[in-house]
């Protein structure tokens, strides 16, 4: 609460700091409350939406039910900056505190350097709000020392260090706190959930699927986007769901980003994220559901999958417009949403795993009557924005074949073992790519690819040329080299071996055009 000049004779003015969510960030909002003589009224200005306007009723009832006074005078509250639209109930606490301060029920000075955020119930109890970590980070950046939040939000908000987070359960406690009659312990973040808890499924549970597992490991090691092709029921989802378990665990900063985003979306549980997210939206999702949007823009699935995995099952069934909307975020690593006069950016660094059937009829090989034209048409549904970003295509086999594979030494490796190899491969990439703006092989542009795809160019040309008779396009060429580079990294080889390149060629995406001839 800012130090406020105590008033002219006719009234008193208080101003309280709170924070509003803007995308996945938070922006400071100052709640000013003016109390002066006049007909009893409570006016709220500063572009409030319906939920904010209703705060007047909640604040009145909460004050009265907490044994506090609601001044029977003319109250005017302003939410500044007045040009920004305010939405949601998280301004309740700041408004209540503003009324208390302006009517002299709490001391001004007690709350300097403090921001508050929370929703009120009519009883005076505090209810949690969305985006506690984003709010706390905003408050820290804005220079506040303390943040007062409802108890349920405290552990999430406490993840922001350098900020004292105080958990308060009711308005009465808040008044006690500001009068110095009660001093709670600053909230502490909850311990990180034990790693690889039961909620992260293990690859050892998946029998067979040799090809899909291998592709998953390569994809994880190089950060490559992956397409899985297989009949319905082959276990594509089951395999994809295990990708977060073999990716390197998120660093602290990454975990903070994940937790912040999930908190904003109301998905968090207050723990610091120990694993990367896995999001699998249904194919009926709208473009704005996938990349974010709405009149008060909310993060889309691709943002919820930030630093994790976005899985698009039945990818051919997604509408063209929805897939088209993925283009910009996949290219840039963030989603840009423009609504009205402002535009917002949501982080969207994610690995994409797509899955589809081998042909439109989706029947097993023996019963399928699809011809090349049908298949071509089907594969063209994925073309364009999506296929441009996919480095690997693998097959997911139907269960009967998978059973057989187990006999042949397909030892069921645990995710943790595979993760070790992935981390080692990523470490090699990080070392090699120092000083460039790429973090992993999938980030390498054409120039970097050619520099680091260490293989005699004659040999490359011979192999590439012999497979792709029409000639591999420059882009396709780079993609295969990137993939081969990752395979070599997994094997710990400095140079790509011809076998690495051959394997990479096997996983490459054939250009769907030109098949007809």
């Amino acid at each position: 609460m800012g130090p406020s000049p105590p008033s002219s004779l006719a009234g008193m003015l208080a101003s309280i700091a709170t924070f509003a969510l803007v995308g996945v960030d938070s922006q400071e909002v100052t709640v000013e409350v003016d109390v002066r003589r006049g007909l009893p009224a409570f006016t709220l200005v500063g572009l409030p939406d319906a939920a904010v306007r209703e705060a007047r009723e909640r604040v009145r009832a909460a004050l009265l039910n907490s044994g506090l006074d609601f001044p029977l005078q003319r109250l005017t509250a302003n939410l500044a900056p007045a040009s920004m639209r305010k939405a949601g109930p998280s301004f309740d606490l700041a408004l209540a505190l503003g009324v208390l301060a302006a009517s002299g029920q709490v001391p001004f000075e007690a709350a300097s350097g403090t921001a508050v955020c929370g929703e009120l119930s009519l009883s005076g109890a505090l209810r949690p709000f969305r985006g506690a970590l984003a709010t706390a980070l905003g408050a820290r950046t804005a220079g506040y020392e303390r943040l007062i939040v409802p108890a349920e939000n405290a552990s999430e908000a406490a993840l922001a260090d350098g900020l004292e987070v105080l958990a308060v359960s009711s308005l009465e406690r808040l008044v006690d706190l500001l009068h110095g009659r009660w001093r709670p312990e600053p909230a502490r973040p909850r311990p990180v959930r034990s790693e690889q808890g039961p909620h992260v499924p293990d690859l050892a549970d998946v029998r067979g699927q040799a090809d899909a597992k291998r592709a998953l490991e390569i994809a994880a090691a190089g950060g490559h986007n992956l397409l899985m092709v297989g009949p319905p029921g082959a276990g594509k989802t089951m395999v994809a769901r295990r990708l977060p378990g073999i990716l390197p665990p998120p660093s602290f900063d990454e975990a903070l980003e994940i937790t912040r985003i999930h908190g904003v979306a109301g998905l968090g549980d207050g723990h610091l994220a120990a694993e990367r997210p896995f999001r699998a939206p249904h194919h009926t999702i709208s473009p704005s559901g996938l990349v974010g949007g709405g009149s008060q823009p909310r993060p889309g699935e691709i943002t919820l999958a930030h630093r994790g995995v976005l899985f698009l099952d039945e990818v051919a069934e997604f509408s063209r417009g929805t897939l088209e909307a993925l283009r910009q975020p996949l290219e840039d690593g963030f989603a840009e949403i423009t609504r009205g006069q402002r535009s917002l950016t949501f982080p969207a660094r994610t690995m994409l795993v797509a899955a589809c059937n081998p042909c439109p009829c989706a029947r097993p090989a023996g019963e399928c009557h699809c011809n090349d034209v049908d298949r071509l048409r089907y594969s063209r549904r994925l073309s364009g924005p999506l296929l441009d970003r996919i480095d690997l295509v693998c097959q997911a086999a139907a269960p009967p074949a998978a059973e057989l594979v187990d006999r042949h030494g397909g030892a069921l490796e645990r995710s943790s073992v595979i993760r070790e190899r992935v981390i080692a491969a990523r470490e090699r990439q990080r070392h090699r790519l120092r000083g460039s703006d790429a973090y992993c092989n999938a980030d390498m542009d054409g120039r970097l690819t050619r520099r680091h795809g260490a293989l005699g160019s004659e040999e490359v040309q011979r192999l590439l040329g012999s497979v792709e008779r029409g000639g591999l396009t420059g882009r396709g060429h780079d993609r295969v080299l990137r993939l081969a580079r990752t395979i070599a990294d997994l094997e710990g080889r400095t140079r790509i071996s011809p076998a690495d390149l051959e394997e990479a060629l096997g996983y490459r995406l054939a250009s769907p055009v030109g098949l007809a001839a």
Binding site: G208, Q209, P358, D372, Q395, V405, H408, S466, A499, E503
Partner: protein, 377 residues
């Protein structure tokens, strides 16, 4: 005769050609079923044909006949870059005369030589389903290539699937491709095969019964098939369902008393049911272009051209035992996991092995990366 030049058709034949074009929609009205033959109809003389199909608009059609301006029609043919060849022209393929309803005039486009088709260079029709299997497509391409390399003209219908592969193969074998269209000769139909159409025009010939600018009708497809059967000394069906347009072509060939061959297809596949039934009925069993050449020339007689490729299907080059196992797995329709099981190899070696097989042309992949056996590429 180079067909890019002016038409040489006589006035009455040219008028007949344009009359069929003019009556095309009326004929469509009469021929409501796609499988009814137009045999009798197209054999009728001009006035009778008008009477048979034009109904209430017969007067208009008769007036059209009276007022037909041959010079104007010749100019239109020339503008379309097309030649009109009538049965009185020495260049008209004589083997068409065996048809009782042979077209009195054909419109041609392209650099090929129509006259030579009736003489020294024998001609084979290679037809099949639009919705064909990869196997059917591969075999057709190889047959077309082998025939082309042996100097045999390959006739087909420019349709998707088998027909297109027949043309592609023939072009690859440096042969003369001939496409018979159900629309005017200046219209690349279907549009997907536009580039193929252009290549055929450069190296071979496009033939049509309907005059330039005329679209295709349902009836004009079976009518086109009779011309293919009429041009070809041997008709070969690769994959045909029952009933199908390809079987119409082979029926015409049988009526003409010309040899018919068929490539065996999977017995469990409905799209090979028609071609397999032909084999059962005594059609020649075709497993290579050589079989077709035997049918054309007998096994003793010399071929127009010979070379390493002539008549041969490029069969699998020898592979090492492990690759052989991989190939077996792909042939059996097993995926990559199936190939791992079959060979006992770890998946990264299977993937690398499949890439080597792809490089050597033994397998190919579809747009979604599913492997299949290819005859050759």
């Amino acid at each position: 005769m180079t067909s890019a030049g002016t038409g040489t058709a006589c006035d009455s034949c040219l008028r007949r050609g344009y009359l069929v074009g003019r009556l095309a929609s009326h004929i469509a009205g009469v021929m409501d079923s796609p499988h009814r033959r137009v045999t009798g109809l197209l054999a009728l003389p001009d006035e009778k044909l008008v009477e048979a199909v034009a109904g209430g608009q017969a007067d208009d059609a008769l007036r059209f006949l009276e007022e037909f301006d041959a010079e104007e029609a010749r100019a239109a043919v020339e503008r379309a870059g097309v030649a009109a060849v009538c049965r009185h022209d020495p260049g008209y393929p004589t083997q068409l005369d065996d048809l009782e309803d042979a077209p009195r005039v054909v419109f041609t486009k392209g650099q090929g030589d129509l006259a030579s088709m009736s003489g020294a260079d024998p001609c084979v029709a290679l037809v099949g389903a639009r919705r064909a299997s990869p196997y059917g497509l591969d075999v057709t391409r190889e047959l077309g290539r082998g025939l082309g390399a042996a100097g045999v003209t390959v006739v087909s219908g420019l349709a998707l699937g088998i027909d297109a592969q027949a043309h592609h193969g023939c072009l690859e074998g440096d042969g003369v491709p001939v496409a018979v269209l159900a629309c005017g000769p200046d219209i690349p139909y279907p549009r997907t095969n536009r580039r193929l159409y252009e290549r055929i025009c450069e190296r071979g010939l496009v033939i049509a019964e309907l005059p330039p600018g005329q679209r295709a009708f349902r009836w004009s497809f079976p009518a086109r098939n009779r011309i293919m059967a009429g041009l070809a000394r041997v008709t070969v069906v690769v994959e045909a369902a029952e009933p199908s347009g390809s079987l119409i072509t082979s029926d015409f060939a049988i009526q003409l008393g010309r040899p018919v061959g068929a490539v065996p297809g999977q017995v469990t596949s409905s799209r090979a049911a028609g071609s397999n039934a032909l084999l059962k009925d005594g059609a020649t069993f075709i497993t290579s272009a050589e079989d077709i050449l035997d049918e054309l020339f007998g096994s003793e007689r010399p071929r127009p051209r010979s070379g390493p490729d002539a008549g041969q299907i490029r069969l699998a080059r020898s592979v090492d035992p492990v690759q052989g196992l991989l190939l077996e797995a792909v042939e059996a329709g097993a995926g990559v996991d199936g190939a791992c099981a079959h060979t006992g190899l770890p998946v990264h070696e299977v993937r690398a092995g499949l890439s080597r097989l792809e490089a050597s042309g033994h397998v190919s992949r579809d747009a979604l990366g599913i492997y299949r056996r290819s005859v050759a590429r």
